[in-house]
C-alpha cells in the first residue's frame, strides 16, 4: 500500500531523511520511532504532500505522491501533531466541509459525520464553535475528519499528545481495529508502550536513516541483553 523508494530529503546541507526504503502492506499498523529530529515528521510530511523528496519516490497504492497529489490525498487520512480547525465553524460544519472535499454525497457525508461523531464521542460539542474546544476535543475532531472517507492509509503524527487516558484508549483501539479491518496505518510516536501494544511492525529512525525495521520480537532477538520492553530495546539501540 505504501512504498518509500530510496527517499532523501535535505534542508540546505542538512540531510533530514537519508535514502529511506520502506514498505508498509495493506492491513498493517506501522510505527515510526526515533528521537526528536530523527526525520519522522519530515517523512510523514513528504507522504502527505507537504514536502517533496529531494530524490527517490513515494507511492501510495498505484500513485506517486509528487505526480498525483490529489489522488494520494483521497487515499490518505492525515492527523497532524498540531491539529488545525476553523475557529469560526462548528465541529459539524468542519466535518461536513472535509466530507464534501472528499467528494462524498450529501447522504454519505451525513452518515459519515454521524458515525465518526459517535465513535469519537463528539456529539456533546459537535454544534459548538471549535474555538471553544480543548486540545483533546480538537484532536478527536481531527481524527474524525481524517476517517470520514474511510481512507486506505491513515497517517498519524504523534497521536497521543495531550490526550486524556480515556481518549488514549479510544485512539489505541481505533488504530488497532482500523488496521485489522484491512486498512493501513502509519504513525509516528514517542509513546513506546502504545507502539509496543498495538503495532505490527516498527521502524526506528536515527539521523534520517532507518536503523531497524521489523517486529518488536525481532528487535528483542537482535539485542537479547537489552531487556524485554520496547522502551529498553529502543534506548539500547539509540545508545549504540
Amino acid at each position: 500500500m505504501l512504498r518509500f523508494d530510496n527517499v532523501t530529503r535535505t534542508y540546505g546541507s542538512r540531510v533530514a531523511v537519508d535514502r529511506l526504503n520502506l514498505h508498509v502492506d495493506r492491513g498493517e499498523l506501522f510505527a515510526l520511532l526515533g528521537h526528536n529530529g530523527a526525520g519522522k515528521t519530515t517523512t510523514i510530511k513528504m507522504l502527505v504532500g507537504l514536502l517533496r523528496p529531494s530524490s527517490g519516490a513515494i507511492y501510495v497504492g498505484p500513485y506517486n505522491v509528487v505526480d498525483n497529489p490529489r489522488e494520494v490525498s483521497r487515499l490518505i487520512g492525515y492527523v497532524p501533531d498540531l491539529p488545525f480547525l476553523y475557529d469560526k465553524l462548528s465541529g459539524r460544519e468542519f466535518l461536513r466541509f472535509v466530507a464534501d472535499m472528499y467528494g462524498m454525497s450529501d447522504g454519505a457525508a451525513a452518515e459519515a459525520v454521524a458515525r465518526e461523531s459517535d465513535r469519537f464521542q463528539l456529539k456533546e460539542f459537535l454544534d459548538q464553535l471549535t474555538e471553544s474546544y480543548s486540545h483533546g476535543m480538537r484532536q478527536r475532531t481531527v481524527f474524525a475528519a481524517a476517517l470520514l472517507h474511510q481512507p486506505e492509509l491513515l497517517v498519524v503524527d504523534e497521536p497521543m499528545v495531550g490526550l486524556d487516558p480515556h481518549s488514549i484508549r479510544l485512539v489505541k483501539d481505533l488504530l488497532k481495529n482500523y488496521a485489522d479491518s484491512g486498512k493501513t496505518v502509519l504513525m509516528s510516536t514517542h509513546t513506546l508502550e502504545v507502539a509496543e501494544a498495538i503495532c505490527d511492525r516498527v521502524g526506528v529512525m536515527k539521523s534520517g536513516k532507518i536503523v531497524f525495521e521489523g517486529k518488536v520480537e525481532e528487535m528483542r532477538q537482535l539485542n537479547p541483553n537489552a531487556g524485554q520492553s520496547l522502551e529498553s530495546l529502543y534506548l539500547a539501540m539509540m545508545d549504540e
Binding site: 500500500m1 534542508y11 492491513g27 507537504l50 492525515y78 498540531l82 469560526k88 464534501d100
Partner: protein
C-alpha cells in the same frame, strides 16, 4: 469493496475518480466562506459591538469627509480650469487621475502580493488544505479572493467618494455612474492579479531572496516617487504654480499616462464618460468610455486565466521549495541596544530592570513589532523633515497661525500613532504572559513589579522616539522656545498616560486564550483603550494648543483687547498646562491602580 478484502489498484483508481468537479469545489469553498462570515458577523454583533460600531462609523465618517474634500476640489477645478469636454479640463484631469490611480495601482500590486504570500505559504489553514484532495489552482484562487478583498477595500474607500464627487460636480450623464462600479472593480482586479502572479513566480524562482527582492523593488519605487515629488516642490516661490512649473510637472509625470497602463485606461474612461455629446451624432461618449471598460475587463480576465494557470503549474513546487530551505538560526548575542538599555535602566531596581530587558528583547526579536513602528515613525520623520515651507514669511499673521496649528497637529499625530502602538503592542503584553505566567509567578518577584516593569518599558520606550519626532517638527517649523517646552511636556504626558492606560486596561481585561496580539488588541478592552487614548490625546492637545495659540497671537491679531491682555493669556496657558497634567495623572494612575489590583488577584 468488502471491508476485509484489500482493494486492487483498479478499485483505488475508481475511488479517486469520484472527487469533486471544479464547480463543486468552488461551491464547497463558497459555503465555507459564507458559514465563517455568518458566524463572524454574529460574533461581532454579540461580542464586539463597540469595535464594529466604531469601525463602521469611522469608515462612514471618513467616506463623507473624503467626499466633501473631493467635491470642493473638483468644484475648484471646474470653476477655474473649464468644464468637462474642454481640452484644458481633459488635460488637467488626465494629469490628476492617472497619477492617482497609478499610485494606487502600485500599492495594490504590493499589498495583494504580500497578503497572498501570507495566505499561501506560512499559513496553517493552507497547510491543512494541501493535505485534502483540493486542486492547487482552486486553493490558490481561494486564498487570492482574500488577498483581493483585503488589498482593494482601501482603493474602493478612496476612489468611490472621489469619482462620485467628480461625476456630481461635473453634472455627468447617467452612464458615468453606471460605469463606475465595473470600471473600479475591473481596474482593481488587474494590479491585484499582477501582484499575485509576481508572488507565485518570486517564491517559485527565488524563495530564499523573496524579502530582498520585494525590498529592492519597493525602495526603487520610493526613490523614483520621492525624487519626482521633490523636483516638483523645489521651485522657488515665484515660479511655484506658474506656467513653466505646470509644463515641467506635466512633463515629469508623463510616465503616469502611458497608454499601456490600466490607470490610464480607467482615467480615459472617466474623462469620456463624464462629458456630454454636443450636436454631433457621431460623437458617442458612452461608447468611447465603454471601449475602455472592455479593455479593462478583458485584461482582468486574461490576467485571471494566467494566474490560475500559474497556480496550477507552480504553486505546489513553490510551496515545496519554500519549505525545503534550511531554517535560519540567528545567533543571539548581546546587542548594543541591550547594552545601552542596560546602562540607561541602571537607576531602576534589579528586578524591574530585568523585566524591562526581557520585554525589550522580545520586542527587538519580533520584526512584526518594530518594523511597523519604524515604517510609521519613518513616514512621520519624512513629513516633519519637509514642513519648513512655513518658516518663510513668519511675520505674516496667517503664516504664524498656520505654524502654530501645524505644530500642535503634528504633536497630536505623534500621539495618535503612539496610541495605536500602545494598543497593538503594549495592551496585549499581560495577556501574552498567560501561558508563561507560571514562570513569572514562581519567581521571587512581586506582581506589582511585573506591572511596573511593563509600564516603564512602555513609557520610556515610547518617550524617546516621540520626543525626538516632536523636537524635529518644532525645529523645522522654527517655533519659539516656549512652544518647544510646552510640546515636550505634553509629549511626556502623552507617553505616560498612554502607557498607563494600555498596561492598566491590559491587566484589567486580560485574554489568556488568545495567542495573537492583534486579536487581543481587537477585543473590547483594546478598542476601549484605543478610543479613550484618542480622547485623551485630543483633550490634552486642545487644552494647551488653544491658550498657547492666543498667547502667541497677542498683539498681532485683531481680537477683542480684553481677551488679549498678557496676564490673562498667561493665566489661561498655565491653567491649560495644569489641567493637562491633572488629566495625565488621572489617566495614568487610575487604570494602573485598577490593573495592579486585578493583577494581584489574577489566577491563571
Amino acid at each position: 469493496m468488502n471491508e476485509r478484502t484489500p482493494p486492487t489498484d483498479a478499485q483505488l483508481i475508481e475511488l479517486c475518480s469520484k472527487l469533486p468537479t471544479h464547480d463543486r469545489e468552488g461551491q464547497i469553498f463558497l459555503r465555507l466562506r459564507l458559514q465563517m462570515a455568518r458566524t463572524h458577523l454574529k460574533f461581532l454583533l454579540a461580542n464586539a459591538r463597540l469595535r464594529t460600531g466604531l469601525v463602521v462609523g469611522l469608515s462612514i465618517f471618513f467616506w463623507f469627509g473624503l467626499f466633501a474634500l473631493f467635491y470642493n476640489g473638483f468644484e475648484f477645478v471646474i470653476k477655474y480650469v473649464e468644464s468637462p469636454g474642454s481640452r484644458y479640463h481633459s488635460d488637467t484631469m488626465l494629469f490628476v487621475f492617472p497619477l492617482f490611480f497609478l499610485s494606487l495601482q502600485v500599492m495594490l500590486i504590493f499589498s495583494s502580493g504580500i497578503i497572498l504570500y501570507g495566505g499561501l505559504y506560512p499559513s496553517r489553514e493552507t497547510e491543512f488544505l494541501i493535505t485534502l484532495p483540493v486542486r492547487d489552482e482552486r486553493l490558490v484562487f481561494y486564498r487570492f479572493q482574500e488577498a483581493l478583498l483585503f488589498s482593494s477595500w482601501g482603493f474602493f474607500l478612496l476612489a468611490s467618494p472621489m469619482l462620485l464627487a467628480y461625476g456630481m460636480v461635473a453634472g455627468a450623464p447617467w452612464y458615468y455612474f453606471a460605469y463606475l462600479l465595473p470600471l473600479m472593480a475591473s481596474f482593481a482586479y488587474i494590479p491585484c492579479t499582477i501582484g499575485a502572479i509576481l508572488c507565485l513566480l518570486l517564491i517559485y524562482r527565488l524563495p530564499s531572496m523573496r524579502r530582498i527582492a520585494v525590498g529592492v523593488v519597493a525602495l526603487a519605487i520610493i526613490v523614483v516617487a520621492y525624487q519626482s515629488i521633490w523636483k516638483t516642490l523645489e521651485f522657488s516661490e515665484t515660479e511655484f504654480l506658474g506656467n513653466s512649473w505646470f509644463k515641467d510637472t506635466l512633463k515629469r509625470f508623463r510616465f503616469a499616462r502611458g497608454e499601456w497602463l490600466p490607470s490610464t485606461w480607467l482615467s480615459n474612461a472617466l474623462i469620456e464618460a463624464v462629458r456630454r455629446s454636443h450636436n454631433n451624432p457621431r460623437d458617442l461618449p458612452w461608447l468611447e468610455a465603454g471601449k475602455y471598460l472592455v479593455v479593462l475587463v478583458s485584461n482582468a480576465l486574461a490576467l485571471h486565466l494566467i494566474f490560475i494557470w500559474l497556480g496550477k503549474r507552480v504553486y505546489r513546487p513553490s510551496y515545496w521549495e519554500l519549505h525545503s530551505r534550511r531554517a535560519k538560526k540567528p545567533k543571539l548575542s548581546l546587542a548594543w541596544v541591550d547594552r545601552v538599555a542596560g546602562f540607561m535602566l541602571k537607576p531602576f531596581p534589579v528586578q524591574t530592570r530585568l523585566l524591562i530587558m526581557k520585554d525589550l528583547r522580545l520586542f527587538r526579536r519580533d520584526p512584526v513589532q518594530w518594523s511597523q513602528f519604524l515604517i510609521f515613525f519613518g513616514l512621520l520623520l519624512l513629513y516633519f523633515a519637509n514642513v519648513d515651507r512655513f518658516r518663510q514669511h513668519k511675520s505674516d499673521i496667517n503664516v504664524l497661525t498656520w505654524v502654530n496649528i501645524v505644530s500642535f497637529l503634528n504633536l497630536a499625530v505623534v500621539g495618535l500613532i503612539l496610541s495605536t502602538f500602545t494598543t497593538r503592542f503594549i495592551y496585549p503584553l499581560i495577556s501574552l504572559e498567560g501561558r508563561r505566567f507560571w514562570i513569572l509567578s514562581r519567581l521571587p518577584v512581586d506582581r506589582d513589579t511585573i506591572l511596573w516593569g511593563k509600564f516603564l518599558f512602555a513609557a520610556c520606550g515610547s518617550w524617546l522616539p516621540c520626543a525626538a519626532l516632536v523636537g524635529i517638527s518644532d525645529v523645522m517649523l522654527d517655533v519659539s522656545f516656549m512652544v518647544v517646552a510646552v510640546h515636550q511636556l505634553i509629549c511626556l504626558l502623552l507617553c505616560l498616560g498612554l502607557a498607563g492606560m494600555a498596561v492598566g486596561f491590559g491587566a484589567m481585561m486580560p485574554n489568556f486564550r488568545e495567542q495573537s496580539p492583534s486579536k487581543i488588541a481587537a477585543g473590547f478592552g483594546g478598542t476601549l483603550n484605543l478610543v479613550l487614548s484618542a480622547l485623551y490625546i485630543m483633550a490634552v492637545v486642545l487644552m494647551t494648543a488653544l491658550p498657547c495659540h492666543f498667547f502667541l497671537l497677542a498683539g498681532k491679531a485683531e481680537l477683542p483687547r480684553k481677551l488679549l491682555q498678557p496676564q490673562y493669556l498667561r493665566f489661561w496657558l498655565m491653567l491649560g498646562i495644569l489641567a493637562s497634567m491633572v488629566l495625565a495623572a488621572i489617566v495614568t494612575i487610575l487604570p494602573l491602580r485598577g490593573g495592579l489590583r486585578a493583577f494581584r488577584r489574577l489566577e491563571v
